[in-house]
């Protein structure tokens, strides 16, 4: 079985393995290109990958640009984060991956907690479907244009969004836990 078959089709030379905690030159180039077209609210090297923060209105066009122009063909993952400080916001982080150049890019967007809604990426990446449903399930972020935005992991009857900070972790139905015994 051959090595590097698919990579060879996509790029002429095999890129060198990335240096630990150093962004690849390719991703640096892409980020600077993005910075010239969009206003990047934040730009940070996260242990070897660029993480950029964009405004909710730019989010879809940035990701679409990254896919069509810069060939970030894979959406590795998409997740939500609930930041409490300095002000409570919900963030969506899309993990994009450029396979041949071995570059990862994290596009994040901050949304107000009282009306968290953002464009869905399903039209760009099929993988986004369940990831966005999961993020909706956990954080209650509404993805506009998602074909089937319902809860995926929790029961449909659930009314809260469990991964928001402040929602208790532990099961509330247990009556055998005596706090005096646990030192809490």
């Amino acid at each position: 079985m051959n090595m590097w078959g698919y990579y060879n089709n996509m790029v002429s030379s095999k890129p060198a393995p990335p240096v630990m905690n150093q962004p690849t030159p390719f991703s640096t180039q892409v980020v600077s290109h993005l910075a010239s077209h969009y206003s990047l609210l934040n730009q940070e090297n996260q242990y070897g990958s660029w993480a950029i923060q964009v405004s909710p209105s730019d989010y879809f066009s940035v990701v679409s640009d990254l896919k069509s122009r810069h060939q970030f063909t894979m959406l590795t993952d998409l997740c939500g984060v609930h930041y409490v400080e300095p002000e409570p916001v919900l963030a969506v982080v899309a993990h994009l991956h450029h396979l041949p150049e071995r570059s990862r890019l994290f596009v994040s967007v901050h949304l107000p907690i009282d009306n968290p809604s953002i464009d869905s990426l399903v039209s760009l990446y099929d993988a986004a479907n369940w990831m966005e449903r999961e993020t909706y399930d956990f954080f209650g972020i509404i993805f506009k244009g998602h074909p089937h935005l319902v809860r995926i992991l929790n029961e449909d009857s659930m009314t809260v969004f469990p991964l928001r900070k402040g929602f208790p972790l532990e099961d509330s139905t247990r009556d055998d836990k005596d706090d005096r015994m646990f030192g809490r």
């Binding site: 078959g5 393995p17 242990y47 993952d77 609930h82 993990h95 993988a127 995926i152 992991l153």
Partner: protein, 391 residues
Amino acid sequence: MTPDKKTVTVNLGPTHPATHGVFQNIIELDGERIVEAESTVGYIHRAFEKLSEHRPFYQITPITDRLNYCSSPINNIGWHLTVERLLGVQTNRRIDYMRIIIMELARIADHIVCNGILGVDSGAFSGFLYVFQQRESIYEIYEEICGSRLTTNIGRIGGFERDFSDVAIAKLRHFLEEFPKVLSEFEALFDRNRIFMDRTIGVGALSAERALAYGFTGPNLRATGVDYDCRVAEPYSSYTDFEFDIPIGQNGDTYDRYLVRNQEMWQSLSLIRQALDALPSDDYHVHVPEFYLPPKAQVATVMEALIYHFKVVMGEIPVPKGTVYSAVEGANGELGYYLISDGGRSPYRLHFRRPCFIYYQAFPEMVKGALLSDAVMTMSSLNLIAGELDA
């Protein structure tokens, strides 16, 4: 009853024997052909991510065990690598090699389950029995190294809790001798088996483009012909030190996935052999007393050990703030840890990139137009682990 309705609704799961876990597939059948499939997941959602936000770093290792429980050591070591990356800890060669031995052993254990069960689903029970016997010897090696069989909790942040004993090395050597025989036998049973080939070739095929669009990684992506492997693309631990091939398939069907997994077992065997032969002598853990629990005997006798034990357990250790994504090549794909640390004793947010979760959404497309019996084979060959899928 609607007499005009031509399709029959068949419900595969949640407690169906063919699902090997708790998934639900509602399948619309026109005769024997699948017109439409819809999957429901979440039946063993255990809130790993919420749980991780309430556990100190070293206590998250047992939680990762239960992600893909067929290959827990990969999850454990992937988590340790993530934390070490956040802390900036450099491990020595011996630890790296030990980790590679364990991870490749776990990969073999996982592929054994997947391919053995694929055989069971196609009606050949005997292959399962042959390879599961060998899986027991992998368990024995785990037990010798960490004391546990399935949910291993192997290793610590910064290395291992104990060195490989002579018995462990001997058992590894014995396994390296015995397993190739059984694997050859297993391959002889299936590789050119007419019935098996008829049941798997062209079944559940997905093109490379579609697989990438769905975010496939691991053996399932490699079966489609894309040679993306975290071990090569973003080498972690010490994979750069060894020679190994990345087996790839062509058609992305069930047969190719089976072949890729089998070939990966051979590669893993070769990796274990290389790492075992070149195992340098050094410490089995690095000196990070803030995170590595001191030996229990010292806690009772040495003052520093007691202090550090207290600090580790009570979580009074400063952790750098930052966001880190670290991925390892799990047994069924890229297993990623997206860790946001705010400097506290437990992660501010920890998101697992679970490959199974991402595969499974392609299932309706993979089985569309296939026969009902093909759906069972496809599901089995994707190596869906419910614990990882539902997190």
